[in-house]
């Protein structure tokens, strides 16, 4: 019965998601320049704490079932109830996919990826931390 309902509801899930306003994350580290900022007329693609990966046109994938939103720098912010206290920020994707995603769904592709893992601090800000290789591997390889 659940399956039948899921099939009936499938077309709804595939419809265009309502565009959400970008989220603003308050970072624990207050660096002057963030991805999306402009310096001397040039766009900042990554900052301290981002890991740059040569994506060379390949896809990145949702490491878990979750949700993607854009931030003010037009980067993709991935969150999942499976990894409480963490967010992942993916910058550099050409056509990022926003909305509800399943584990393994393609989130977008691009020439290079700037990846940051953000951990929630007790004061509500988000600290950029060093991501484990496991998370990057999940993000870079299809299921």
């Amino acid at each position: 019965m659940a399956l039948l309902l899921a099939v009936l509801l499938l077309p709804l899930g595939c419809s265009q998601p309502v565009p959400e306003p970008p989220i603003t994350l308050k970072l624990y580290q207050s660096w002057e320049l963030q991805p999306g900022d402009t310096i001397a007329g040039r766009r900042v693609l990554g900052g301290l704490g981002d890991i740059s990966i040569a994506l060379e046109g390949n896809n990145v994938y949702a490491p878990f079932r979750g949700k993607t939103q854009r931030d003010r720098g037009n980067c993709l912010i991935f969150s999942s109830p499976e990894v409480p206290a963490y967010l992942f920020r993916l910058c550099g994707l050409d056509n990022p996919r926003f909305g509800t995603v399943n584990q393994g769904d393609a989130l977008g592709r691009g020439r290079s990826l700037q990846f940051a893992a953000l951990r929630k601090q007790p004061n509500g800000t988000w600290a950029i931390v060093e991501p484990a290789k496991e998370i990057l591997e999940r993000t870079l390889t299809p299921l």
């Binding site: 878990f64 499976e82 990894v83 399943n102 060093e130 484990a132 496991e134």
Partner: protein, 130 residues
């Protein structure tokens, strides 16, 4: 005459009974607990059921919200008690292995609370509405 009356009554009862059964079946179908995740290779499935009777009350949830992230795991466990299950272990931050424990809500078993610990430290929670 009596027979005809009887025949007219029975279908209604069957319809009513059938509807009730269907309703019960629907409810049961949607409240099967262990199917936290349907994908076998996904990380969201319970790896080990700890306490199959575990349900989280509103009061426990309210008390959890008073615990700041970074506090001791023990403190959170005292409030939440044993989890329904453990999810697969993960490493999200380099050098910090994480454990995740899940609790279905008493008032809505389709909604789960996932708590994340890093060692003996409580890292945070997320509510998973399905």
């Amino acid at each position: 005459m009596n027979n005809r009356k009887l025949y007219r009554v029975i279908p209604k009862q069957i319809v009513a009974g059938g509807s009730a059964l269907l309703a019960v079946a629907l409810l049961m179908d949607f409240h099967v607990l262990p199917s936290f995740g349907s994908r076998k290779n996904g990380s969201e499935a319970c790896q080990r059921v700890v306490q199959s009777q575990a349900r989280l009350s509103r009061e426990q949830l309210a008390r959890l919200l008073t615990v700041p992230e970074g506090d001791r795991k023990q403190k959170v466990r005292e409030i939440l008690k044993d989890p329904y299950c453990e999810l697969s272990n993960l490493q999200i931050r380099a050098g910090a292995p994480a454990q995740r424990e899940a609790y279905p809500m008493e008032f809505d078993p389709q909604t789960w609370l996932v708590v994340l610990y890093e060692g003996e430290q409580y890292a945070g929670y997320r509510i998973n509405a399905r």
